[in-house]
Symmetry: C2
Subunit: 428 residues, 2 copies
């Protein structure tokens, strides 16, 4: 084993030598003219292939019935009974608390925000567009598409730091005293990108929130609710009944989808909320459509069956995902950890590894990767307005490329991390 | 053949005798305790069954590719290339002018209105929520769900009468001089519910409109673009290129769907518009989703193939639909025409027969039908705010019940029409 000196312990001469070595490594990488992508949490072809049986569960007219309901015809705005029951099983809530959606849960989140601005939520004194100011709390690093929706509707996005147990709840509790604070956006299990599972205490503090705004809403995006790739399924409490017990049953909108269980390009999704919210939004959604695609809902129910069977399928996904995450984490452990220039956590589920590079270098690392043919998520994308206050966080999405490509991409990435750190230390 | 005296030629005694006879008929109908529905344009099970092959066109991973694009994964926000090409073939426009949607075109129409209010359309000086007043033109009788969207967003709905060639274009041309008039909603082919095909002159006058509002939009809901059930396919001009030629390329949003071609509960849809609008809304829709269901898009393309093949499938639908519409029209001809108490048109496509009963009787007819177990579309629903100025129009939707049930339902309906007319004439 070669002993490696952390950059912080090197002399200027050693740093310069390291810099020249990494520059040479980087040029070698560039010469390979790679074209690799670790930017988005896209499932790999191998994952899509392993659920192919879903294509064949509906073959005849008879297959298309959910009891007496013909999934092929109009009706059942809130979703097929079997699909509502399926999601209730997954999220440990009641079928009456489920509205089944289309291929993207994001679309329903956007609809909630859109209708909040034009009409208001269940307890809104007025539509949010009539408020002087609307503020959204954005625990970060977080999901860029969440932040984009808030920005699109003109909400002021407020940065809340993430801790190892979830968002900084002291700050959240303080901020919700402001009646202009109307929403908070979180991914509570295998958070995007940190891969954190919110602690029981954090979840209880969410349920116990007493916001000044009567229509304050938690967007509880449970996108990775069954998405372990290491170890056993981690049970997760039902936030809806917890909010109910704490006295604010209508404060939370939970979302989940099959985008990373069956097909990212043709899955189904759900919104889970109090019966009051489901009734209210069934009225609202009734203006815009007859129902989401019920044939696809039934296809999913027949294929996925229930939570237990879905978890079996997720174990198959884990055989594809696990080695990729291990590959990335192992390379980081080997190449970067001894140098002391970045921090990260080895997640056991979700779709991302979140890395904090030396402050002030994330954008530079992104550019170096780009120039060497490796596309990463934009540096800063995981923060409100795309601005990372420390220019440090980089989201790694290892799911799409095969392991052999990941190794090549990680060589470029680790070389870029080192080079950017050395540039910084040497004021280049 | 029995010679029948029109009610208008009867003496009061004859009317009273007719009233007693119809009252007895009505009681006989009621005693049957029927439970029939002619309220909604739902496809019949026989129609859904005849397209069952679509369930089996995608069976393997290889089937799921559109060229090099994996329909199962994220990407292609505006739709699969083959799906955009399919709709361009159907609507006689360019693939670059197509955005492929989900199970309901209505959802995209609602999104357009929603975003117009919160952000504005391509040429909006400001979001519509910042306008003092927003007015929508509603040619009527029309589609209730169109009007509901306008009402939901607080637009003032303006009634424009329908003529045998389409909306009263003199009125439309006059109204669009008002800059507060921002939209008009029409079903140009087999209009809902009149079954009218807009004349070439009407269509040209639409394209030639010079509205005062720079962001005035025509919602051209071509829901029945291939939906003939009598005779040959009727070609229909491309409104997008016509608006372009007339100098307002961004004035029209056209919509179509497969809800009444494949599955009402699991079809696909499209928006067709200028490249400028498609670019603008691809940006806007990019905030709310990754793409609509592409697996279902590909399933449809592989099954429907192209316009010519789709028209072959529509001929099979016609074998189910044709007899039902003939049944309804024949019964009306036999039972109602001689009495001179209602007017209607025998349509050759679409999903409805629009009947104008004796003014002041439509609501009464609806109630009589309801009490005798036959559900019709709410009287007035085909007008803005659900208010028919003449209380006369009734929309008949014959598609769902089998012919035997239709005959029973029509017996109730015609008896109710007669009874309501006699009540009116006798001031009962």
């Amino acid at each position: 084993m070669i002993f490696v000196t952390p950059y912080s312990c090197m002399t200027p001469e050693q740093l310069e030598a390291a810099y020249q070595a990494e520059l040479a490594n980087y040029e070698t990488c560039k010469a390979k003219k790679l074209n690799l992508n670790m930017a988005r949490g896209k499932p790999a072809k191998a994952q899509l292939d392993l659920v192919s049986d879903i294509l064949n569960v509906l073959q005849t007219p008879e297959d298309c019935f959910d009891g007496t309901i013909d999934s092929r015809n109009y009706g059942e705005l809130a979703g097929l009974p079997s699909a509502r029951a399926y999601w209730a099983d997954v999220l440990d809530c009641k079928p009456s608390q489920i509205f089944v959606g289309g291929a993207a849960s994001l679309n329903m989140m956007c609809d909630i925000v859109s209708r909040a601005f034009t009409h208001g939520l269940l307890h809104s004194p007025r539509p949010w567009c009539k408020e002087e100011k609307v503020k959204f709390l954005c625990p970060s690093p977080g999901y860029d598409r969440h932040f984009q929706i808030g920005e699109f509707y003109g909400a002021e996005l407020i940065y809340i730091p993430m801790t190892p147990t979830g968002p900084d709840m002291d700050m959240v509790e303080e901020y919700v005293k402001d009646p202009a604070v109307k929403m908070i956006w979180v991914v509570p299990k295998y958070s995007n990108p940190d891969g954190i599972i919110f602690s029981d205490e954090t979840i209880q503090r969410f349920a116990n929130l007493k916001p000044a705004a009567p229509d304050f809403a938690i967007i509880w995006d449970n996108a990775y609710c069954m998405h372990e790739f290491e170890g056993e399924y981690v049970p997760f409490p039902d936030i809806i009944s917890m909010c109910e017990k704490a006295g604010r049953p209508d404060m939370v909108f939970e979302f989940a989808s099959t985008s990373k269980i069956t097909f990212a390009g043709g899955g189904t999704s759900c919104m889970a909320a109090s019966e009051g919210n489901i009734d209210y939004f069934t009225g609202v959604f009734g203006v815009q459509m007859i129902s989401y695609d019920k044939v696809n809902q039934l296809r999913h129910v027949k294929y996925l069956k229930d939570k237990a069977h879905t978890l079996e399928i997720m174990k198959r996904h884990a055989t594809v995902m696990g080695p990729k995450f291990r590959c990335v984490a192992d390379i980081l452990d080997r190449e970067i950890k001894p140098l002391g220039i970045a921090e990260w956590k080895r997640p056991t589920g979700g779709y991302f590894i979140s890395l904090n590079a030396m402050p002030g270098t994330a954008k530079r690392v992104w550019n170096l990767c780009k120039e060497a043919g490796v596309t990463m998520t934009n540096a800063g994308a995981t923060f409100p307005y795309g601005k990372d206050p420390n220019d440090s966080n980089i989201r790694i999405a290892p799911s799409l490329p095969p392991v052999a490509e990941l190794e090549q991409a990680m060589e470029v990435f680790t070389t870029s991390l080192k080079l950017a750190a050395l540039e910084k230390l040497l004021n280049k």
